[in-house]
């Protein structure tokens, strides 16, 4: 049964990718894209219900493993992928109307979009550390041509940087995986089971600590490049700023999470083997550095997508930091923050995408008075910004509050850094978004109706979760936190 459900989850995007590879240039390709994403979402929901009901499951000869931790990411991924496909339908048509995209480019976009979803879902659900690596690499490969979709010099440069840096990063992660296998082989024996996370998790106490320590450093640096941890982040702002907005939304909202999930899987093993807080400390260090550096860079940005890309680095840093602290509360908060950030950041990118289309530029000084042009876009952007900055009553306030109070309690010396960084981020982002939303307009009309339902759907969710967390959801998160050794 679980096999079937999982198969539905993975085969739907695969079918979608193949169908769109065949029919991607038809006029109804966008609708097909949304439909397939919707089916994937349904499959994810079914799978989630199943796991909530009957606990962690393995499938297909233990090659796949679904527990409360990754199923929540699966649901989130499928949901955001679905809403992004809704958003991208009018957005890409407007781009095409403006002459920035051709039908072939859209063809590529649609088929790669589905395959990208497939790669992420495989990375999330796989039990095999090797397959996780393979699908992370596949996720890079499917998105790299999307980043350069516009074929402008800047976009090609961004895509090249993305490809090379993530390629190098992911290669280091492979080395880490090999080291992990090297250690596991001595305990579990050669062959298939030595890379299966469930098996590794059972014997983690017996794994050679020296090897695992080294392996974790490589895994963290490797996957950390994908998460965008400072100082490995330099591809991230470029790729987010130069790629099409739907791609920025899924990169920021989803891919970073998937990479973080892989790091968390490794962390559980390593800390279990070492019996110390080595992996956690490393993650805290990288996370804190990312928060602080990204906050400092925020105020210098002129490009609106770039600015929000730095904000993604900041938030992923915060999540990594929280996961690094460990403990039930911090892990709970980190997962909550991951969810909130995904929803909010993709909503922001949706709103920003339309704002940029209206203004015809990504330079913030030339985008003005969105509220006059389109109140919905303006409010969407304003509310999204307030949400991402952690204003109550949005959900990010709750998660940031939890993270900072835990930090105050466990690692008091980090609190000033976190508070100052969040303060700087607030000043920088709010100061720049405020004139964009209010102020005098210079914008133009769009040939298609912008899709704003996803923006408000996401923001509404974030708001609701900020005000009231349903007990079963809290319970779910708590179980997931427990699984992560929290």
């Amino acid at each position: 049964m679980i096999d079937l459900q999982l198969m539905a989850l993975l085969l739907t995007p695969l079918t979608g990718g193949l169908l769109l590879a065949a029919f991607g240039s038809r006029s109804w390709a966008a609708e097909l894209n949304s439909l397939m994403s919707f089916c994937t979402f349904i499959a994810a929901v079914v799978l989630t219900m199943r796991v909530i009901d009957s606990g962690p499951q393995v499938a297909f000869n233990e090659q796949f493993f679904i527990d409360q931790f990754n199923v929540f990411l699966v649901a989130l991924t499928a949901f955001v992928a679905f809403t992004t496909s809704l958003f991208s339908r009018p957005y890409m048509r407007i781009e095409q109307h403006h002459g920035k995209l051709t039908t072939q480019m859209l063809h590529l976009y649609y088929s790669m979009y589905q395959l990208f979803t497939l790669a992420m879902l495989t990375a999330l659900t796989s039990n095999n550390m090797g397959i996780i690596w393979v699908s992370m690499e596949a996720a890079t490969l499917t998105t790299v041509l999307l980043v350069s979709l516009y074929r402008t010099p800047a976009s090609i440069e961004a895509a090249w940087k993305y490809f090379i840096l993530c390629g190098v990063g992911i290669a280091l992660a492979l080395f880490g995986t090999i080291l992990l296998y090297f250690a596991a082989e001595r305990v579990l024996g050669e062959g298939g089971t030595a890379l299966l996370w469930t098996h590794l998790n059972q014997v983690k106490g017996g794994l050679e600590p020296t090897v695992l320590k080294l392996a974790f450093v490589f895994l963290l640096v490797g996957y950390g490049t994908k998460i965008g941890l400072v100082p490995l982040h330099s591809w991230l702002p470029d790729a987010h700023a130069e790629g099409p907005t739907p791609v920025s939304a899924v990169l920021s909202g989803l891919l970073l999470n998937v990479a973080l999930c892989a790091v968390m899987r490794s962390k559980v093993l390593v800390d279990g083997s070492l019996g110390t807080h080595f992996a956690g400390n490393l993650m805290m260090g990288f996370g804190l550095l990312s928060v602080v550096v990204a906050a400092l860079f925020l105020s210098r940005q002129k490009d609106i997508k770039r600015m929000f890309a730095y904000s993604s680095i900041e938030h992923m840093g915060l999540v990594t930091f929280a996961f690094g602290m460990g403990g039930p509360v911090a892990t709970f908060a980190a997962m909550l923050h991951m969810t909130m950030h995904s929803l909010t950041k993709s909503a922001i990118f949706f709103a920003v995408g339309h704002a940029v289309q209206k203004a015809g530029t990504q330079q913030m000084e030339n985008i003005r008075g969105m509220l006059q042009v389109s109140p919905t876009v303006g409010w969407g952007l304003m509310l999204g910004t307030l949400a991402i900055l952690g204003m109550p009553p949005f959900g990010i306030f709750a998660s940031e509050f939890l993270i900072i109070t835990t930090a105050m309690h466990d690692y008091p010396w980090t609190t000033p850094f976190l508070l100052i960084a969040l303060g700087i981020a607030f000043a920088a982002i709010f100061g720049k978004v405020q004139p964009i939303v209010f102020g005098e307009t210079t914008a133009r009309r769009l040939p298609h109706q912008p899709a704003l339902i996803p923006v408000f759907a996401h923001l509404l969710l974030v708001l609701i979760l900020g005000l009231y967390m349903p007990p079963y959801l809290a319970d779910w998160y708590r179980q997931a936190a427990a699984l992560l050794g929290g």
């Binding site: 090797g130 090249w160 090379i164 290669a171 080395f175 090999i178 020296t210 940005q301």
Partner: protein, 220 residues
């Protein structure tokens, strides 16, 4: 003692892998660079074969064959073709001069060996010390990627890095599960194709494959 000889041969091949990594670092001509890459693939394939023979693991024969096919024949052929098509035969241009690069390379090797020293002390089998060599060649290829100006040498560096990793996977750990190895091979192949697409995109847009053209995106 057949096992002992196979260890010696693998050690020798490992050293050759490292030597070729250094040779690539010092190489000034792009065609020789690609040829060296093919040689490295051959060494890799041979060592995989020896490991397969000495540990009697059949799936490693497939790995060795796959390596031979992919890294000795297909990829160099693709790169040669690309170079012919793009009509670029220039010398490799470096950001740092080659002797300095070599010195940095030595430093990296020492670093890698140091890092791997505790591991090689643990292992009693065939794998002793190979992790260190694999790591060193990965780092050297990384260095090559960082210090080259043009796109093609960077890509060769990327692929050479994959070689080092593959060496770690096959020789140092007796081979990962086949499905993982196939996945890795597929990724490498797709990556090469995407690199190829990129070369054309880059040249179309910038009229050259010089990466230094691509330094516009900066945080002022």
């Amino acid at each position: 003692m057949p096992i002992s000889y196979s260890i010696q041969i693998i050690n020798l091949l490992a050293s050759m892998l490292l030597l070729i990594a250094f040779a690539m670092l010092s190489q000034r001509r792009i065609l020789s660079l690609i040829n060296l890459f093919a040689w490295q693939g051959l060494v890799l394939s041979l060592s995989t074969f020896v490991v397969a023979y000495s540990t009697d693991q059949h799936h490693l024969y497939y790995s060795a064959g796959l390596t031979l096919l992919l890294k000795v024949m297909v990829l160099p052929w693709l790169l040669h073709r690309l170079i012919r098509k793009l009509n670029v035969k220039w010398d490799v241009e470096t950001l740092i001069n080659i002797p300095t690069t070599m010195l940095v390379g030595i430093g990296l090797v020492i670093f890698a060996f140091n890092l791997a020293a505790p591991i090689s002390q643990l292992s009693e089998s065939i794998t002793r010390g190979l992790i260190g060599i694999a790591l060193a060649s990965v780092l050297l290829s990384l260095l090559m990627m960082l210090t080259r100006r043009k796109a093609v040498p960077q890509v060769v560096g990327f692929l050479a890095m994959e070689n080092g990793l593959f060496f770690a996977a096959t020789s140092a750990t007796h081979g990962m599960p086949l499905v993982v190895e196939l996945g890795i091979a597929l990724d490498v192949l797709v990556a090469t194709f995407i690199f190829g697409i990129f070369f054309f995109q880059i040249r179309e847009t910038f009229d050259s494959l010089d990466i230094t053209n691509m330094e516009k995106l900066k945080d002022d």
